[in-house]
Each structure stands twice: as structure tokens, then as C-alpha cells.
Symmetry: C2
DNA sequence: GCAAGTACTGACATTCTTGTCAATATCCGA
DNA sequence: TCGGATATTGACAAGAATGTCAGTACTTGC
């Protein structure tokens, strides 16, 4: 050992009192893994406790690291929030467009409605996005722009295709847009006030399912009535 | 002026350096008035900047008082929030039930929809309520319970009356409940994501109006189709 | 093995926010 | 006009939160 006496008891910084802590074997993750874990923890905190539960110290404790580690990976708290927003947006986009694209020939609204509601309710995606909208963030990010635009395009394409098959006139594009908007609004609203309202009305979990079906039927009736 | 030399330069506490501040003539409001002003300012801050903009110092500056004055009137920040919630709930209740009760014979959904949307959008009522729901407050307040219950009752009564006039069968109560829920959800959703979505879709203010009308028509069609 | 790169940490600095307190100014009734 | 009640204030206290920094320990390429 050439460079001796480096971690003995010399310098003075770690002190190292007799036989106390076994040093706890520091763990080291890849940067990517660490970022993922941190975002996961932040996401859950946000979903469970709302915006005020998003504190670096808490998140760090959840992950099992010190809070400066978070700063190391995300620069600042704001950076963390930005990253969380970006990831949530991407997940939402995949979830929605994926569902819309997969069962290509499915014209039944109920399935799509279900997907939208679940995509927004699960893991508190809607709550997260609502919070960021409420705090005035993402005003210029305009990620939502693309998502909404793509979805309306996809929906309109399906309706036109369906109309051609049936020999009915092509549907109005604004009508398609309104359907998408209503669904989005309703899903967001449900994610936020849904539980309260359902409780107030004495609806159980099954009642909520009935509500979604009822809503899907409402839209289906509209679709079939021809604009 | 018998008791002279009271605000001269004596005691030592206010220091009163030569000719600086003219003492600024302290204003004194009634407790009620002060509370009202404070709540107004808090409400606006919340609507404009979201939950993070609700700081005692800021609110105090808006009103033109010092922040301990707020504590004096509301005990604590939490007390202020509670009071704000209570007032907002009461306003919302009056607004919604008032509209529903006034034009007694009006069966047209469009007007009611318009009222609901406006009541929730104006002054950021929905944003405020959303925030408090997101932060997990008002879980047991259950003020919302009463409001929702009353509204469904009122709506159902109107539908039954209308059905009797028309000789049609009485409407299903759950259907009425679902209509109310959808409207509430959609209005909340619009209050939060509405602007973003509309922007994304290239809708202007007029487009939003068209959307609301479209939604009202959707419900009207449903009402007239008999459940 | 060695050295460079970097994930990670403890301690500290800074700033912000709620809340307390004693003192003061204003209103209002006697 | 006096005196009590109370709305209001400045100064301070306590705590929490983000951010900085120098140093430590793990990994990986040579």
C-alpha cells in the first residue's frame, strides 16, 4: 500500500467513532436506473399526497438515497418536475395512441372510452397533469398539443373509413374533435372529482363502471345517429 | 390636545428617523370586511398562480396589510384555507341551485349546462376545488355531498314533472344522476384542461362556445329519446 | 492494478414561510 | 372625553426546503 493512511482515522472528516455503523455498503446504480427510481418515487408521492408531498428529502428517503443525489441527476427540483412531466406525457401518449391503433377495426366507443379513463386514472396520471396545469407549467411545452392533434386525426380517420364502408356521408371533423374533447374533459374531471361525486351519490365501484358504460352508450348513440 | 408628545420621536421603538415616512395613517376595517378582502385576495392568487401562490405574505401585500393580520383573522394558514373552501362551496351551491330553481319550467339542457360551466370556470372555482381535492382536503367535509345530492334531487323532480306533462314514463333516477355526473366531470375537466385542449385544437373562444352547445345538444337528444 | 470518471454522501448555507409577541392605533360605547 | 376592545403592525423565532461543496466509494477502461 503505497499511499498509506488515507482512510485510517486521520483526516478528521468522517470521525468514525469506534464500533458504530458498519459503513452500510454504499449502493451505486447506473444513472438511468437512478433517474427511473427517483421518478417513480416522485410520481407516487405526487399521486398519493398531491403537490405538497413532492419534497426532495421525502423522495430521497423513499428511494433510499440522500437528497443531493436527486439534485445530481436532475440539476434542480424544477428539473425533476420537468422530467416527470415529460415522462408522464410520453406514457400517456403511448397509452392512448397505442390503444387507438391496435384494435384497428373497432368502432365501438365503449372500449376507447374505457382506455382513456383508465389511462388517466391509473397511477394518477390525470392528477399529475392537472397539478402541473394548475401551477401554470407546460403552458408552452405544448406536448398536449401534439397528443390531442394526433388522437383527433386517428379518430377522424377511423370514422371516415367506417363511413365509407357503410356508405354514409363522412362525419364532420369538428364533431370528432368535440367527442375527443368531451371524453378528455370527462376523464380528467372524473379523475379529480369522480370519487367525491360517486361517494356523494352513493355509487360503489360498480356504479362507476355503469357510469362509464352509460357514457360510452351516449356517445355510441350519437355516432350512429350520424353527426 | 392634552396628551401631547405621543407620536413625536420619543419612546424609541419606531425610531422615526427625521422626515421619512409620514406614518402612513393605519387603516382599520371591521373584522368582517377584513376577512372578506383577505379571502378575495387569496381566491385570486389561487386562481392565477395555483396552490404555490398561496402565501400569507403575498396575500397580505395584495390587501395592503401585514401578514400577522391574516393570522389574527384566521388563526392559521390552514384556517384561511378552510374558510376559503367553505365560502367557495357556498357560492357554488347558491350559483348552481339558484339557476336550477329560478327558471322553473325550463327543460332545455343548454341553459343549465351553460350555468354549470360558467359557475365552475368563473373566478377559478373549479381550479380551487380541484386543488383542495388534489391535496386530499375536504375528504370528510362532505360539503360536496349535499350539493350533489340536492342537484340530483332538483333535476329529477323537474324531469318527473316534465314526464307527467308529456305523458311519458318517469325517467330513471340513475340516468339523472349520470347526467349530472357527466356534466360535473366535463365542467371540471374543461376548467382545468379546457384551455390547453382548445388551444391544441385551434379552437378560439367561439369554438368553446360551440363545444358547449354541442354538448348541451347531446344531452338534449338523450333526454328526448326517453332514457 | 491503476487511474479517471462519476454516483453518492454529510455538513453547511441560504432563503422562505408560518407563527408568536409585545406594542400601537383606531373605533365605539359610556 | 375617557377607556376598553380589538384590528393592526414590526421584529423576531423556529423550522423546512432547496441548493452547494468538498470529499468518498464504486465502476470501468487501459
Amino acid at each position: 500500500m503505497s499511499s498509506v493512511a488515507k482512510n485510517s482515522a486521520a483526516k478528521a472528516v468522517p470521525v468514525a467513532k469506534s464500533a458504530e455503523k458498519p459503513a452500510a455498503k454504499r449502493v451505486r446504480r447506473t444513472a438511468e436506473e437512478a433517474r427511473r427510481l427517483i421518478l417513480d418515487a416522485a410520481e407516487e408521492r405526487l399521486a398519493r399526497q398531491g403537490p405538497e408531498g413532492l419534497r426532495l428529502q421525502d423522495i430521497a428517503r423513499d428511494v433510499g438515497i440522500s437528497h443531493p443525489a436527486i439534485l445530481h441527476h436532475f440539476e434542480s427540483r424544477e428539473g425533476l418536475v420537468r422530467a416527470l412531466i415529460a415522462r408522464t406525457n410520453a406514457q400517456l401518449r403511448d397509452s392512448l395512441l397505442g390503444a387507438l391503433g391496435s384494435d384497428a377495426a373497432n368502432q365501438d366507443a365503449a372500449d376507447h372510452i374505457g382506455h382513456v379513463f383508465e389511462a388517466l386514472s391509473d397511477r394518477g396520471t390525470a392528477r399529475l397533469l392537472s397539478w402541473l396545469l394548475l401551477t401554470g407549467r407546460a403552458t408552452e411545452e405544448s406536448d398536449a398539443h401534439n397528443i390531442m392533434g394526433e388522437i383527433v386525426e386517428a379518430l377522424q380517420a377511423k370514422r371516415e373509413e367506417y363511413a365509407k364502408d357503410q356508405g354514409t356521408p363522412a362525419p364532420d371533423k369538428e364533431d370528432t374533435l368535440f367527442i375527443a374533447m368531451l371524453t378528455a374533459n370527462a376523464a380528467f374531471g372524473e379523475a379529480i372529482v369522480g370519487r367525491q361525486l360517486a361517494e356523494a351519490a352513493g355509487l360503489d365501484q360498480d356504479g362507476i363502471k355503469r357510469f362509464r358504460k352509460w357514457f360510452a352508450k351516449l356517445l355510441n348513440d350519437h355516432l350512429e345517429s350520424g353527426s
